[in-house]
Symmetry: C2
Subunit: 315 residues, 2 copies
């Protein structure tokens, strides 16, 4: 009988292939795959459209380990119907995204964005640089998962007061206070910084809309590193035109790449980054910590010990 | 007899004028001054070329409270000869400069500088963005005074290992290890980041020169927020041309404003800021904490209790 297959939809270093084989000696490990092999895949590391249909058509697929934290692009209903386990890459990107957010805030408050633009024109103009202080600010983390908690820990040590939003408003270590997502609009007026780190779900769709933007401080900063469609793009553009708040930094968008004709490109007080906040050095090590931990428990008793996604909830 | 004068060479808010008067009721406080008044100035807050000669010609001047941290532009020898006390503004700018440095590092490591340039051309190109991680880096703080200590505290909490350089190599809280300035070249090859926060003195002149640059890691970052002439500008340019290290961020220069023809403007891997790292919100409050503390002790017994400059040492 053919050994079941662990299909790696991304290249990993030999040292990790060896570790996988040591933990799961009764499996074949494949990175390149044939049509025939696909029907024998039991575990898929990563998920791409290219193989989606065939993997779902087979009754051998039992577990998908996603590389990303967000899993809204996966066929969750089919996984649920076919009892396929799903685990995500949540946590891998937490430190990178936290550093990205702090970098954005400090480069904005310290006038570095303006300095970079002036340097391109060889302009030395201290008077043109506006500046502020990060320490002492109130920051609202919308989404208190791995990334939100890492951000809270790091930025609190820089003197920032960190508040949180999650589904139920349950308290989380490291946050001054937490509120439920339904009460977000009530706390937003007190905040200097609002950071979206939400997964894409039915509940979070367009949650950052004019109701929120209109309640923000005129001096406030809005950052989105979660899913693009948590932001109502048209209402964000209106809010920027009306100067509801002072500065936005956006790493994710409803349409990516952001189309050239999108007005967001043109605002002086908007920073566009091309979905880079999660790019992380030493990715393979960080990812394999999660996958190998799950592989051990899966081989032992067909269960996942970390990062399992609740398929009906979507994260 | 005319009351002695406290001359404020910068405007301060009424609340602070009132506090000064309350502590020193036997003094007149002047912001606008006549030629005649100058000879009655006992305390000068701030120091400008405009009044330098006349203030030194009078035998009434006893104490200068500098607004800046660096005092290399003041006539230290004359102060010493005439037994004029000098105190500086060291500490006021520590938090701002620390935030500025962390902002520079994170915006560099997270590819924000490149994103800003790409945004101006509406370019979405994840592949063009290089990224790295701040956490885990080794940082050398050259100058372990107020600013260096604030930086050490803040950036250590972001996972950075902080080493220090000072005159004698004496140990300072919050630094993994400290070395004397004479041994700087020995530790530089181990460092990912070298930050100059030195005052301008005979000993620090051109201390960042080819001997140091050539010993840096190819991937290293050099930041100068101290005095411009601690850097040998010509040798820095050569080092950048030879790619001795990866990135420089310069806030201070031997000649300011940096002349348009200076090649430093043109390097893609150099960030020029126009001497802004010390710009600080709430400046008057921070400054007055120092001045009013000293004013109390001066009125009581003609001594300064904080931030006194040793005139022969220059800081």
């Amino acid at each position: 009988m053919t050994k079941p297959i662990i299909f790696l939809q991304k290249e990993f270093r030999t040292e990790f292939i060896d570790k996988i084989q040591a933990i799961a000696p009764n499996y074949q490990i494949k990175t390149d795959i044939t049509a025939e092999d696909l029907s024998a895949v039991e575990i898929s590391v990563g998920w791409t459209k290219q193989f989606s249909e065939q993997l779902l058509a087979s009754d051998q697929l039992k577990w998908v380990q996603s590389i990303s934290a967000g899993v809204d692009y996966l066929p969750l209903k089919e996984f649920s119907d076919q009892n396929i386990l799903l685990s995500n890459g949540s946590g891998i990107h937490a430190l990178s995204i936290s550093e990205h957010i702090i970098g954005i805030l400090l480069s904005y408050y310290r006038g570095l964005n303006q300095s970079i633009k002036n340097q391109e024109r060889k302009i030395w103009d201290q008077g043109a640089i506006s500046y502020d202080q990060l320490a002492g600010k109130n920051l609202l983390v919308v989404g208190t998962g791995h990334i939100g908690q890492q951000l809270s820990k790091s930025i609190h040590s820089l003197g920032v007061n960190v508040y949180g939003i999650n589904t139920t408003g349950h308290s989380v270590d490291g946050f001054v206070e937490t509120y439920s997502i339904k009460n977000m609009a009530k706390i937003v007026p007190e905040m200097d910084i609002v950071v979206g780190i939400l997964p894409g779900t039915h509940e979070t769709y367009h949650i950052f809309n004019s109701d929120i933007f209109e309640k923000m401080k005129k001096s406030a900063v809005f950052i989105n590193v979660g899913r693009g469609d948590t932001v109502h793009t048209r209402e964000l553009i209106t809010a920027l035109e009306k100067k509801n708040f002072a500065f936005a930094a956006l790493d994710v968008f409803e349409e990516e790449p952001l189309p050239k004709e999108n007005p967001l490109w043109n605002f002086d007080n908007v920073l566009i980054t091309p979905h880079i906040s999660g790019l992380t050095v030493d990715f393979q090590n960080k990812f394999m910590k999660i996958f190998l931990t799950n592989l051990k428990s899966y081989v032992a008793d067909k269960e996942l010990s970390v990062n399992q996604v609740e398929l009906d909830r979507g994260y």
